[in-house]
């Protein structure tokens, strides 16, 4: 092996800790505090739904990270070994996400049943449909859409994700010390059953948390749509971590252009996949033109008086920003491998995912006419504060886990292949 780099201190026992760990925690807490202040200014529903956007956003990214690790193991991939370690650290955020989901549950249980999900309150007045209780569509779905089911399912989603994360992390971290290939085999098996479990959990999470906000509406594609956003978010965060560690010097000599090219290609591929799923869903509903499905999109395009809703423009922002911009941008080889070129696009993708989630969640807030409350409103501030708050906690969890192990899985069977990775 070659001589140690002048920039890196010789033979570090573990990855060096980052000084920003504490800062992330304070930023997170500050964000949460601002969100809490929002309760004094906006209505509880507005703040709660904004908070739902935040928690869904970071959970999606964590799920995506989990899936990337699972897929890495099942396909015996080598290119992603060094990055995988950072994904594993990111999984530390799951237990905090579970904790951060509690405020929504508590608000529902203790404060007001329909603060987020209208169907939780039988007396909730539907615009032009009477109350939830008398709504035939609710009655039909009541055995699925009820509070105990919701709580049990949500708890089990987090249980599944936390358990899988713990298993993957432990196996991988232990391998650093004993170099036993059994751990790789074990992770491969975990992945075999972990992928279907995670997939089911994320589909139903998307149905319960997001789709049921508008419980009249239904689409079989919804889970797949959520999956696409999860992976895209995780890849973008992965790229940012790679760039950060490179800039800090940790990854110098470890990472090469091809690693970035590979992850960039995945970003590109899932851009296409997201577009495919989202287009198919919209297209099939547009083409069939059945009122019981189109109302979901109509709500996001027109107000009751025929004027154009702000959400329509948000839809266009998503169409162009979530597909065309990254698609065309990432076509180029250079844009995938030059650090200063890939960075803006992954940040862009991360922001558009947030807008996509807003588009799916926030129109559940109605005004007195049954129209969606506009996009540009104070709610946006609570969305941002929740995203910063929960994000701060996630980053803190990652940074706290970061120094507990080696920077890269030094005893992974594929580590050498990874370091010499070429196309």
């Amino acid at each position: 092996m070659s001589t140690p780099a002048a920039t890196a201190p010789a033979a570090l026992p573990l990855a060096s800790s980052a000084p920003v760990t504490g800062k992330a925690l304070s930023i997170g807490l500050a964000g949460l505090a601002v969100t809490a202040v929002g309760l004094l200014i906006s209505s509880p529903s507005q703040v709660a739904l904004s908070y739902l956007v935040g928690i869904t956003y970071w959970t999606a990214i964590a799920i995506g990270t989990l899936l990337l690790i699972l897929i890495h193991h099942i396909t015996d991939a080598s290119w992603s070994v060094v990055i995988r370690r950072q994904w594993e650290h990111w999984l530390a955020s799951f237990k905090w996400l579970a904790l951060l989901f509690l405020p929504l549950v508590l608000a529902t249980l203790l404060y007001q049943k329909d603060v987020v999900w209208p169907w939780m309150n039988p007396a909730h007045v539907m615009h032009g449909h009477g109350t939830v209780e008398t709504d035939i569509l609710y009655q039909k779905k009541a055995s699925f859409l009820n509070l105990p089911m919701f709580l049990g399912m949500t708890a089990s989603f987090f249980a599944i994700w936390c358990w899988l994360s713990a298993r993957l992390r432990q196996a991988s971290f232990t391998q650093d010390t004993d170099g036993n290939p059994q751990w790789t085999q074990m992770n491969r098996k975990t992945s075999a059953f972990g992928i279907p479990l995670t997939a089911l959990a994320l589909s139903f999470a998307a149905i319960y948390w997001v789709k049921s906000l508008e419980y009249h509406w239904f689409s079989t594609m919804y889970g797949v749509w959520f999956f696409a956003n999860c992976i895209r978010g995780a890849l973008a965060v992965g790229v940012l971590i790679m760039l950060w560690l490179w800039k800090r010097g940790d990854y110098k000599g470890i990472l090469n252009t091809n690693h970035l090219h590979s992850i960039g290609q995945l970003c590109f591929a899932f851009t296409v996949f997201w577009a495919y799923v989202t287009f198919s869903q919209y297209f099939l509903i547009w083409n069939a033109n059945v009122p019981e499905e189109t109302f979901w999109y109509n709500l996001r395009e027109l107000n009751h008086d025929g004027s154009i809703s702000q959400w329509k423009y948000v839809g266009f922002v998503i169409l162009f920003g979530h597909f065309f911009v990254p698609f065309l941008y990432l076509l180029s080889y250079k844009h995938k491998v030059v650090h200063s070129k890939i960075k803006p696009i992954v940040i862009w993708i991360l922001s558009i995912i947030l807008i996509d989630l807003c588009y799916n969640i926030l129109p559940a807030l109605k005004d007195e006419h049954g129209d969606a409350q506009p996009f540009l409103s104070l709610n946006l501030l609570w969305v941002l504060s929740s995203v910063v708050g929960i994000g701060g906690i996630c980053v803190w969890a990652y940074l706290k886990s970061f120094p507990t192990t080696k920077l890269i899985p030094i005893r992974d069977p594929r580590i050498e292949e990874c370091i010499t990775h070429h196309e």
Binding site: F283, W286, N287, Y333, H422, E423
Partner: protein, 177 residues
């Protein structure tokens, strides 16, 4: 006057040998030369100093043409030349025009890619001096060759032969044009 040879050909046994030989020929400053290999050898492009292929740009042009063709064709046919209301759908919408435009994008990209590859490679070329070499068959089977063309400004029969032999080339032979 004896006919000017096409160039010199040297045989190599392994991928590693030709890799190193290619680096030497490249460093010697030759431009009109080539390696003959039975399969793509990783890294040989870099060893030879070959630039990244321009084929993807041709493909992109093809794809854009295809997409525009699709959209404009459907608009022109269904909305302009023969407007016809069917199924309550608008005369033109990018929604229903998308599937076909998408297929045409791919079709045109494929044509552009393959056509581009053939043109950039100057193929088909059924007659070529290298293909007249008596052992060329091994070049598609399990041997590697380096060919340096006489057209190269640095070409010098003796010096080039020496370079090839020094790089480990076996059976250095002149190719007739």
């Amino acid at each position: 006057m004896p006919a000017e040879p096409y160039g010199l050909i040297a045989t190599f046994e392994t991928a590693a040998d030709i890799y190193h030989a290619a680096e030497q020929v490249r460093d010697a400053g030759y431009k009109r030369w080539d390696c003959i290999t039975p399969c793509p050898v990783h890294g040989l492009d870099k060893a030879m100093g070959v630039k990244r292929s321009i084929v993807p740009r041709i493909s992109l042009a093809g794809g854009l043409t295809g997409f525009c063709t699709g959209m404009s064709m459907i608009w022109w046919m269904n909305s302009y030349d023969y407007p016809l209301t069917v199924g309550g759908k608008p005369l033109f919408s990018p929604m229903f025009a998308f599937p076909i435009s998408y297929e045409l994008t791919i079709l045109f990209t494929a044509f552009a890619t393959i056509g581009g590859m053939f043109i950039v490679n100057r193929l088909p070329m059924h007659y070529h001096a290298v293909l007249k070499y008596e052992h060329i068959r091994r070049g598609l089977d399990d041997r590697f060759f380096v060919v340096i063309e006489a057209r190269d400004p640095k070409f010098n029969l003796a010096a080039t032969r020496a370079l090839l032999e020094q790089a480990g080339g076996l059976a250095v032979t002149e190719l007739e044009a």
